[in-house]
Structures are given as C-alpha cells and as structure tokens.
C-alpha cells in the first residue's frame, strides 16, 4: 500500500466534489429557510396586527357601513356566526355523501371500472378552481331562485363550500378504509356478520380517526374559502335572528376580509385584520387538531 492511495481514502475537504457538496447543502438550507419565511411573516403580522384590534366589541358588534363612522367600524360578530353556520351546512351535506362515497370505493368496488371513474372524478373535482364552484352555484341555485325564491343565501354559500369539501372527504375515507387490515373483515364475516354490520361495526370505527382527520382538513379549507361565497352568500352586516334568515345574504369572515381590505377607510382595514386573526387562529387550530387525531388511530398511515 503506497502513500497516495491511503491519502485518497481520507476525507479531503478541498476536493471539488466536497466543496460542491457543501455548497449545494448550503443552498438547499437557504431554500428551506426561504420557504418557511412567508409562514412566519404572515402569521406574525396577522397575530400581532390583527390581535391588537381584538376586543370584546370587535367580536360581538355588527360591522358599520364603510365611511359611516370613521372612528369605529363596529365588529365582526355576524361574520363569525356566518362562517360557522355555512361551514356546518357544508359539513351536513358533504360528510354523509363523502364518507358513503369513500365506503363504496374501498369496501364494494376496489378496482372496478366505475370505482376507477369515481376516483378519477374526485381527483378532477379536487382540482376544479373554487371560483368555478361559486359560478356553478350562482348559475344553478342563485340565479334560478330554486331555493324557495331566495337568491343570495347562506344555504347557497354552504352548498358551494360542500362541493369543495366533497373530494377531500371521499379520498381520505377511501384511503383510511384501505388501510384497515383484511383480517378484520374476514373475522367479521367469519362470525356471521353481514356486510353492513361489518362496515358499521368494524371497519368504520377502526378508520374513524383517519376519516376525522380528512374531514377536519376539508372543513378547515372550506371555512377559509372566499371565492365560492362572493356571489352565492354575498355579505350581510346583520346577525341572523331566525331560521328564515338562512335564505338571505349571509356574512362570513373571509368575505369580510376581502370587502374591507379594499375599503379606503382605516377602521375597516383594522376589522379585516381582526377577522384574519380569528380565521387564522381557528384554521391553524383545526389543522393541528386534525394532525393530532391522525396520530391516534390504530391503523393510521404513520403506524402501518
């Protein structure tokens, strides 16, 4: 063994390949920092700037018409309840449909042509821009006044949000059920359970935590959407007081942000920041909650 070959086996930092490696590692680290930077900047601005405008009045009062009162713009109370109500309407529609659709894909037809078509369809539906969902609901529900003669309404807004939630829920239900081991299904059949019993008593409970993760993520996405609401639910400055109010215009946090951000008045802009604070806090908590639930399941992705 001569000296040179021994040298070539030891790490030599001045070699081109080692310098190149270091440089590329450095660049990728910079890229990672750049990617995280917007999150930190957006969240800190929203929390600090938005948080400073939060008080009891902002949370409860109804917003004043822009330009009416330059000192106080009122509050975002109706928008908070509006976002909540429309998210509930969207969930009532999309959770049963989505979970049932997912059950069909995973339990009844794993690789049939119809199932393939539905999977393809839900991928395509997931890619449909949210504004198109708004346009669709406007054309089919709002302008035709099909909902008992009402035009812009909270219900129409909820329906358009449900279109956005549907593909996510179907996909996560499908994937969650597929992760349930087949042994459980055979065992259920073995003791004489019907397919309905097997699904409702065995596979759905096992997959419950993964499915709720998907539902929460879909909900978090829908609650922050603006585009489908701007011409379906429109905006309202008032609280809903009765069931009938569901059939009229309804305010929401996201539309409030959009409308008031573009107003020339400082106090309206402040309300927009306050609304973003509430929206971001709620959505981030929903996301973190869904991650936490996802780790609870017996057959969640991380454990299989």
């Amino acid at each position: 063994m001569n000296n040179t070959s021994q040298q070539s086996l030891t790490y030599n930092p001045s070699l081109t390949r080692n310098i190149g490696n270091k440089a590329l590692t450095f660049i990728s680290a910079i890229f990672a920092i750049i990617s995280v930077l917007p999150l930190i900047l957006v969240i800190s601005y929203v929390l600090i700037k938005g948080g400073s405008y939060i008080n009891l009045d902002t949370l409860i009062l109804e917003p004043e018409p822009p330009g009416d009162d330059l000192l106080s713009a009122g509050g975002i109370g109706p928008a908070i309840t509006g976002t909540f109500i429309m998210s509930v309407i969207a969930s009532i529609i999309s959770i049963p449909v989505g979970v049932a659709g997912g059950i069909y894909l995973a339990e009844y037809s794993k690789s049939g042509n119809f199932a393939k078509f539905i999977r393809f369809g839900s991928n395509v539906l997931a890619g449909v821009p949210s504004i198109i969902a708004g346009v669709f609901i406007y054309a089919s529900i709002v302008s035709t006044k099909i909902l008992f003669g009402s035009m812009f309404s909270g219900i129409a807004g909820g329906i358009s949000l449900s279109i956005l939630m549907l593909p996510t829920i179907i996909k996560t239900t499908d994937e969650a059920l597929k992760l349930v081991p087949n042994d459980l299904r055979r065992a259920a059949f073995g003791v004489g359970a019907s397919k309905f019993k097997m699904i409702t008593n065995i596979t759905l409970p096992v997959a419950f935590s993964s499915i709720s993760t998907g539902v929460l993520l879909a909900l978090a996405r829908a609650a922050g959407e603006t585009a489908p609401l701007i011409f379906t639910a429109l905006f309202s400055r008032y609280y809903i007081t009765s069931f009938d109010d569901l059939f009229y215009e309804m305010g929401s946090l996201s539309v409030l942000i959009y409308n008031f951000a573009l107003e020339p008045y400082e106090s309206q802009n402040q309300l927009a920041w306050a609304a973003s604070f509430i929206l971001v806090v709620v959505l981030l908590s929903l996301n973190i909650l869904s991650r936490w639930i996802g780790t609870l399941g017996a057959f969640s992705k991380s454990k299989v």
Binding site: N21, S35, Y104, A139, Y258
Partner: protein
C-alpha cells in the same frame, strides 16, 4: 364430506330484513359515490350552457381579443388568459427550485430529525392559511415592502418590455410572488412524500460505489422520485391557475394588455371574482365562457398530472 359441512353451516338463514339492509346500504353508497360524477358533469353542463351565447357569438376570436367593453358589448379574454398562464407558469418557475430544494433538505439527514419535521409541518401549515388572508398580507405588507426593489429593477432594466412600466402598487409581479407562497407547500409536501418513498437500498448502493451526497440526489434519488415530483408540480400549476382571492386583491384588475410584469393585469379567476357580481346579459355569458376556458385549462393540467404520475412511476416493490 364437503356436503356435510355445508349443510351444518347453512342452518342459520339470513333474515330478509338483514338482506334488505345490506342491499339498501350498498345502493345508498353507490348513489353517494355517483354524486361526484353528477356534480362534476353538472358543473361542466351549467357553465357550458350559460356560455353558449358568447361561444356562438365570438367563437375562437374570444381567445385572442383583449377588448372588454360592456358598452359596445365587445368581449375578449386574451389579457385574462395570458395573465392566468403567465402568472402561474412564472410562479411555478420560482416555486419549483424552492419547493424541491426544501423537500430535499428535509428528507436528507443534514440536520436533526425534529428540526426537519418542524420545517415540514411549518411549510404544510402555510397551506392552511386562507388565500384571502395572504391577499390582505400582500396588499398591506408585502407589496409596499418590495416596491422599492421593483423600482430599482425598473430603473436598471426598463428598456426590456417585461419591465417597461413603473411599479405603482398592484400588478402582476406581486401576484406572482403571492402565488409562489401559495403553491410552495403543495410542491414541497408532495416532493417530500415521494422522496421519502425512494427505497433506502438505492441510496446505500450509490454511496457504496463512492457517490457523494448530491451526486446520489441528482443521479439516483430525484430520478426515482420524479413521477411524484412532476405530479406535485402539475397539481401546483392547476392550483395556481385557479387561485382567486389573493391574486384578485393584488393583481390590479385591468384588462389593458401589457407585456410588463409591473403593470396591473387580470387572470380569468380574478376577472370572475371582480365582475360576476355586477354583470348582466352578454357580459355574464362572456364571463361564463372565460370560466369554461379556465375549467378546461385546469382539467387538462389535472388529467395530465394523473397520467404522468402513472406513466412515470417506477415500481420498486
């Protein structure tokens, strides 16, 4: 022998009610699954039906004219189509190196795992921030911050048509930047997932024959994960083309065509968000025509994404 066991186990007949429940449950889930197809087809049908007036009136001319005049009833979506394609592709070109670079950084063992996981979660949380909040941030914080730098570019390179107008607030460039922020999480998380799925044997083999870390990444890991990365990039493209709120708030909403990326412009979705509420008559059908074009564009990108993932995916199992 087989007959005996059979008779022994068919003693319990399944009651009719149980069968009925089973069958009706199956029919219910089939019906619910078909809802996806129903919704998808009705979206297409409704948007197409509403735009027939405009399609028969303007035909393909609609795609190449940038007139948008409700008074003379003359409509063309060239500015919006150009804006949609330009902003989404430009933002993609910025976001691909950033996103894939970040994904590589958090899948390699350069720094401790908990920091890498933290970065991964933070990038994914970025996707949870609603686009209207990003728009608000872009209008009040980002755009005033970058304007001086854009001005420097304008003064230095103003002779190039792309930089030929003075940046005065809302415009295409801030919209591109906010789109980068929005699609970065998609590219990063999908690239990360597909990089993680590359079997570690491939990496060990590359290291074993003397490849350095980045040779391994460029020659082995990325080629093995390219199907997932491409799929993620195409999904991000589809998302960028359909993105509405943040872009509407910052792009300036002007139908005057300009080559400059500092000038106000339009995308199809921002045009819809901006005008649909107050439109009537032939303007509605023209907007529907634009919506149809947007749908077809995103549909093509999404279908291509699904196809390419299938086509390129290498099977290692």
């Amino acid at each position: 022998m087989e007959k005996e066991t059979k008779s022994k186990f068919t003693l319990r007949r399944r009651p009719t009610s149980e069968k009925l429940v089973d069958v009706s449950f199956k029919n219910t889930v089939v019906a619910m699954a078909s809802m996806v197809a129903v919704v998808l087809f009705s979206i297409f049908a409704v948007v197409y039906y509403e735009s027939t007036d405009s399609i028969s009136r303007y035909g393909l001319r609609f795609l190449f004219s940038s007139a948008w005049n409700p008074v003379t009833d003359e409509y063309g979506a060239f500015t919006a189509i150009y804006g949609t394609l330009f902003t989404s592709i430009a933002s993609l070109l910025i976001a691909i190196p950033l996103g894939v670079g970040t994904a590589i950084f958090i899948t390699e063992n350069i720094i401790p795992e908990y920091i890498r996981n933290l970065i991964g979660i933070m990038v994914e949380l970025l996707a949870a921030i609603p686009s209207v909040v990003l728009g608000l941030w872009a209008v009040f914080i980002m755009e005033p911050f970058i304007r001086p730098y854009l001005n420097i570019i304008y003064e230095l390179f103003g002779f190039i048509p792309f930089f030929s107008t003075k940046p005065l607030g809302a415009g295409m460039m801030p919209a591109i930047l906010i789109l980068v922020v929005m699609i970065l999480p998609i590219i990063t998380s999908i690239s990360k997932d597909s990089l993680k799925q590359v079997p570690s044997k491939l990496r060990q083999a590359a290291y074993g024959i003397g490849a350095s870390r980045w040779t391994t990444i460029f020659k082995v890991i990325i080629p093995a994960a390219i199907s997932g990365i491409t799929g993620g990039v195409l999904l991000a493209l589809g998302r960028a083309m359909g993105e509405t709120m943040a872009v509407t708030m910052i792009i300036g909403n002007s139908n005057n065509f300009s080559w400059s990326i500092f000038a106000p412009s339009y995308t199809i979705s921002s045009m819809l968000a901006n005008q649909f509420g107050e439109a009537d008559g032939s303007q509605v059908s023209s907007l529907m025509y634009a919506a149809l074009i947007l749908m077809i564009l995103t549909l093509l990108v999404n279908v291509f994404a699904q196809w390419i993932v299938k086509k390129l995916s290498l099977k290692y199992q």
